[in-house]
Symmetry: C2
Subunit: 360 residues, 2 copies
Amino acid sequence: MGDPGGTGSSDGPGTPARRLKRPTMSDVAARVGVSQALVSLVFRNQPGASPDTRRRVFQAAEELGYRPDTAAQLLRRTRSRQLGVLFTMRQPHDVGIVEALYPAARKHGYTLVLNAMVATRGERQAMEELLGLRSEAVITIGATSSWQHLTTGATRTPIVEINPRTRAAGVDVVRTAEHKGIRQAVDHLVALGHRAIAHIDGGTMPAAAERRRGYRAAMRRHGLADHIRVHPGDYTEESGARVARDLLARAQLPTAVIAGNDRCAHGLLGTLLRAGVRVPEDVSIVGYDDSQLARLSFIDLTSVRQEAAESAELAVRAAAERLDEGRTADRDIVLDPTLAVRGSTGPPRTRSTPDGDLLR
Amino acid sequence: MGDPGGTGSSDGPGTPARRLKRPTMSDVAARVGVSQALVSLVFRNQPGASPDTRRRVFQAAEELGYRPDTAAQLLRRTRSRQLGVLFTMRQPHDVGIVEALYPAARKHGYTLVLNAMVATRGERQAMEELLGLRSEAVITIGATSSWQHLTTGATRTPIVEINPRTRAAGVDVVRTAEHKGIRQAVDHLVALGHRAIAHIDGGTMPAAAERRRGYRAAMRRHGLADHIRVHPGDYTEESGARVARDLLARAQLPTAVIAGNDRCAHGLLGTLLRAGVRVPEDVSIVGYDDSQLARLSFIDLTSVRQEAAESAELAVRAAAERLDEGRTADRDIVLDPTLAVRGSTGPPRTRSTPDGDLLR
DNA sequence: TTGAAAGCGCTAACAG
DNA sequence: CTGTTAGCGCTTTCAA
C-alpha cells in the first residue's frame, strides 16, 4: 500500500498542502464529451438528459472520483435548503432530538448543519457560524436566546427554539406543557397514597421555572400546600445526589420526590440506594424526559415523557412553514407530555410512627 | 413587537422564501465608498488599510447587518482550513473528545465541521457529506472505517481515526495502549488480594478485542489463568446489567469484574446494588474511559483513564502535519492510559467457606 | 436533448 | 494605502 494513485512522494516536508486538485464538473464533462451544464443537470436528477448520457456521466464521475462541491452549490443556488442546529451534547434528551431531526429534515427536503455549544465556544459564536454557513433557519435546543440581536435587521433568519431556557419574541417555539407533565406526576403519586412529595427544581435550566410552578399548583390542587418542598438543583446527577444527602441528614424523608430531569433523578436514586434507602418502598422517585437513562433496567424510572421525534418534526415543520410557505406570524407549539410509569414509584409504606404526618 | 425591520407583511402565504437579499461585501464597500477588495482585506485583518477605513468598514457592516458568506470564502480560498469530525453522541467519552477538539483545532488554525453518525444515516453518508464540504481532513471517533473506499483516488483526504473499531491502512490512528490499561486494572485488583477477576468484553466495539487480549495476558502473568472468565457484552449499560443477572444466578460471584467501558460498568454496578450485593465489599468493579459517569459521587468507579484532551490534540496535530508539513507516511500514535482509583474497588472479603478458592 | 454564457460573494495577485 | 482584475465550481437562464 502506501501511495495509491499518484507518483506520490514529490511532496516532501516543507511543501504545505500541495494535493492534487480535485476533479470538477468540467473535468467530468470533458471526459464524457458534453458540456459542464449537462453534467450539472444529471447530478441534480433534472429531466433533460438522455439515459445514455446519464450513464456515461456517472461512470466518468466514478472513474475520476468526482464529488460535487457543496460550497459552490451553496453559493450558486438560490436556496441552500440547510437548517442549522444549535445543541448541547450533554443532555440525553437533547441528543435524542438531534437524532430525530435528521429524518424530519430529510422529509421536508432539508439538510442539517450541526453546531455544538461547548464550554469554550459560546452559544453566540456557534449561532454566528451557522448563519455564515447559509442556514436558512436555525433550530436551537435548550438555548438561552443570548444571540437574539444577531438575527435582527433586514435579513432575519427564522429561529425555532426547542425547549428554550428563556422566552423571546420573534421566534417560533416548540415546547412541552410542563405543568401538565408535573401534574400527571403529582396525580400519579397522590393516587398511590403519597402526600409528602418534594420537588428538585432545575434552577435556570430550560423549563425549570414552569416545572416548579406546575409542581406548586398541582400540590395545592390536591390540598397538599403544606407539603410543598422545593429543593434547588439543576439538571445534573450531582444536584440529585446533593439533595439526597440533604434529605438523608434529616429526621424524615419525603415519601416521594419529583426530580427536575432524569439525570437529576438518577443522582438522587443512586445516592439513596447506596445509603440503604429502598426505592420505591421507602421513597418513590419520578424523573423528567423519559430519556434512555430512565429506561435502563436497573434504574427503571417513572418519568414524564416528551417525544423527541415529535418535537423534532414540529420544529422542522415550523421552519419549513416560514421558509416555504411565507408564514410570518410567530408560532408557539405546545406538546402534551405523558407519564411513563415504571418501577421507581409505588405506594408509600404506612409508617407506624406516632406522628401521622410525614415531614411536617 | 411582531415585525421589526421591514415594511413586513408583503409576504403572504404562497410566497416561498422571499426574504431580502443579505448584504454583501460590495454593499458594505458602496456604503463606505471604497472598493470591495478593501473590505475583504479589512475583514481578514490583513495589513493594507488605514485605521480610519477599518473603522468605517466595520461600522457600515454593523449597520447593514453584514456577515461574511462562508460558502463564498470556502469556494475562493485556496485552503478551507476546515476539519471534518465524524462522531457519535451516545458514548460519553466520545463526546468529551469532540469537546476537546474545538480548542485543539483553533490552536492549529482550523475550524470544525461536525457530522453525527446516527442510526438513520450511516457512517458512509456522513463521511460523504464531510468531504463535499471541503474538509481538508477528517477525524473519526470510534468509527469502523467502512468509508475507506470513498477516499481513494488522486485526491485523498487525510483521515485521522481516534479509537477506531477496525484497523485500516493509509490513515493516521490515535489510540490507547489498551493492554496497558487493562493490565493496570488487573495489577491493582491483584494487589488488593483478588484472584477471581472476570472481564466483560465489548464485542466488536472499538478496542474491545485488545482489551480482551490484555485481560487474558495480565491474568496469565499473575498465574491466574484458571480464573479467566470473559463474559460477552458491548458498551451499553444493559450488557453490564445482563452479566450481573447471569452472575447473580450462580453459586459464587467473582470478587472483581473489569467492564469493557464505564457504561457497562454502570449497568453492572447498578444491578448488583439493587440485588443487595455490596460494592466493593462483595465485588470490586473497574470501568474503562474514566468518563463523567465514573466520577459521579454515587457511582465512584475505579476506571482506566484515557485523556480526551490529549487524543484530541494529537489527532488535530496529525492532521495538521499532513496538511501543513506534507507528511505522507502513516502515523500510529499510542497513548498510555492511567488508572483512576476510586471507591468501587477494595480488598475482597475473605470468605469463611470451606473451599478456599472462589469461583473455581 | 444539449450548449453557451452569466454570475453567486468572495479571495488573491497585481498594479497604481 | 487603495483599486482592478480574474476567477473558485457550480446553477440557472436562454438558445440552439
